[in-house]
């Protein structure tokens, strides 16, 4: 199954859907727990095993989830777990965790269900582009089906009860992954952060720490899960995200009209490096891919698609390269492999 995953990419990387020039993907996740068990930090080995077994069996029998592929994380290698994480099918915490735990996911990689992450259940749906309503419709249905089989911990006052009180209530985290290279280049990104924070949303860099966000990729998600309904949370995102995307588009236009030569030089130079480099670190690849993606979305570069670039962001991550080669590789070896992989994908046969 993992082999099969490797030969393709998830549907959410298609580069389709509303606002796909900026919004790469939309994700909704729901946190759920079983009523009759302690939360995981307090559960013993036996209870964890019992929870995993119970949920796994229900997933395998319930309509809508029975076709999902189930993997017990204790059965696979560290690299395979990292591979699933890079694929966004599981979280970093889930990949690095311990004890009995698993993940169920579909062939298109739209749906995934993590078992025994921070909560007993973390259901997740990812769609390409800005598709919150669509994602909500799918996840709501899956949740309804699982809820018929499993007794969720729920209180009329506090809603769905979660291990961490920051998730209680709807248990819902809606997020969009946005590509904001022009706001970064024009130094307007801080303003976006400040404005968004006041509206009850959080922005964080997708990869990397500190000020330099790798690949200009950001995740915007709702901060509050209690006191607002799922629909309200979606409405807030729907009113804020388009403002950010139009701000980014404005910044792109400014770059083109006022700094065309510099922008052209920047994106073509990056494209040239990607097509010719012999050694590429993960950081450098992200940075260059971001610049080229900007060039493609503003129409300067036409011989590569945004979809190809979206996929390269994922396919050049460490565990993906190691799966490609079929063995564990040192960082220096990966950097050589990454460069040759990118060259081939961009049609350079040298």
């Amino acid at each position: 199954m993992l082999r099969e995953l490797y030969d393709k990419t998830g549907d959410w990387l298609r580069g389709t859907g509303p606002e796909a020039d900026i919004v790469i993907s939309t994700r909704i996740r729901l946190a759920r727990n079983l009523a009759n068990f302690p939360f995981l930090s307090r559960a013993n080995t036996e209870q964890k095993r019992e929870i995993e077994r119970l949920i796994r069996e229900k997933i395998k029998h319930a309509k809508d989830t029975k076709d999902l592929h189930y993997i017990r994380l204790s059965d696979i290698s560290t690299v395979d777990r990292l591979f699933l994480m890079e694929r966004r099918l599981i979280s970093r915490e889930h990949a690095g965790g311990d004890g009995e735990r698993g993940v169920a996911f579909g062939r298109s990689e739209t749906v995934s269900v993590m078992v025994n992450e921070e909560d007993h259940l973390r259901i997740q749906v990812i769609r390409s582009g800005f598709e919150l309503r669509d994602a909500w419709k799918i996840i709501d249905e899956i949740d309804n089906i699982l809820e018929r089989e499993l007794k969720y911990a729920f209180s009329p006052a506090f809603g769905y009860l979660t291990a961490c009180p920051t998730n209680v209530g709807t248990g819902m985290r809606a997020s969009v992954m946005v590509h904001l290279p022009a706001l970064g280049l024009t130094h307007h990104i801080e303003k976006v952060f400040n404005a968004v924070g006041k509206l009850g949303l959080i922005v964080r860099g997708l990869y990397g720490e500190g000020t330099q966000v790798l690949g200009d990729l950001y995740q915007i998600s709702n901060q509050f899960t209690l006191g607002k309904s799922e629909t309200e949370i979606i409405e807030i995102m729907e009113s804020v995200v388009p403002r950010i995307t139009s701000y980014e588009r404005m910044a792109r236009e400014v770059l083109i009209s006022e700094n065309r030569e510099q922008l052209e030089d920047r994106v073509w130079r990056s494209y040239g490096m990607l097509k010719e480099a012999r050694v590429l670190s993960s950081e450098e690849a992200m940075h260059l891919l971001s610049q080229v993606r900007l060039g493609v979305t503003v129409g300067l570069i036409k011989d590569v698609t945004a979809e190809t670039l979206n996929a390269l962001f994922i396919l050049t991550l460490p565990a993906h390269l190691q799966k490609l080669e079929g063995k564990e590789l040192e960082a220096t070896q990966r950097n050589v492999l990454r460069a040759s992989f990118v060259r081939r994908r961009l049609g350079n046969t040298n």
Binding site: N33, A35, F37, P38, F39, S41, R42, D140, D143, N144, E147, R148, K151, Y152, A153, F154, S155, P156, A157, F158, G159, Y160, L161, T162, A163, C164, P165, T166, V168, G169, T170, M172, F224, T225, L226, G227, K228, S229, E230, T231, E232
Partner: protein
């Protein structure tokens, strides 16, 4: 530089202590620094310090510190130091402490939104009405009275309960 404590070995550890406006530097060798660390371990545990602090800041949380969940045994203080709850029951057991915490975290302490259908039809309706009330407020705020009227009708329809009908009869 020689160690300030034993004056024999070479100082390899440099500590800066700031108390009030005074800054004090200490230069120690490995061994003396190690001994100093051991002294630190004899200090009150972080949990004790936390308990003290909480007692000073919010006495009612201090009172909560004696509370533990009867189901999983998690104490309120354990929860406050780890940030993670032990079991679903904790929300009830720690209610007094958790409500103000949720207010701070979410700006709210009551759930509005999806309800599992097995939680009972009554609750499902109650929640929908709560949501509709919010929408009604929004519609009125925007002066969209047509929409507001529709929402109000839907609320009446859902509530369909005696008290609403009663009011209507009185009005009529």
């Amino acid at each position: 530089m020689k160690c300030e404590s034993c004056n024999k070995r070479h100082a390899t550890v440099h500590l800066t202590e700031i108390s009030g406006n005074e800054k004090r530097e200490q230069h120690l060798c490995d061994e003396c620094a190690h001994n100093l660390n051991n002294q630190l371990i004899k200090m009150p545990s972080p949990t004790d310090i936390l308990a003290n602090l909480i007692n000073q800041v919010a006495p009612e949380i201090g009172e909560m510190s004696k509370t533990a969940c009867p189901a999983c045994g998690m104490s309120y203080l354990e929860f406050r130091s780890s940030g993670r709850l032990g079991c679903p029951m904790d929300y009830t057991a720690f209610k007094k402490g958790i409500v103000p915490l949720l207010e701070k975290m979410h700006g709210a302490s009551e759930h509005i939104g999806k309800v599992p259908s097995r939680a009972g039809k009554e609750l499902v309706v109650k929640n929908e009405v709560l949501q509709l009330r919010k929408e009604l407020d929004k519609a009125v705020e925007k002066e969209d009275y047509e929409k507001a009227a529709k929402i109000r009708d839907r609320i009446f329809e859902l509530s369909g309960s005696d008290d609403v009908k009663g009011t209507l009869r009185q009005d009529g």
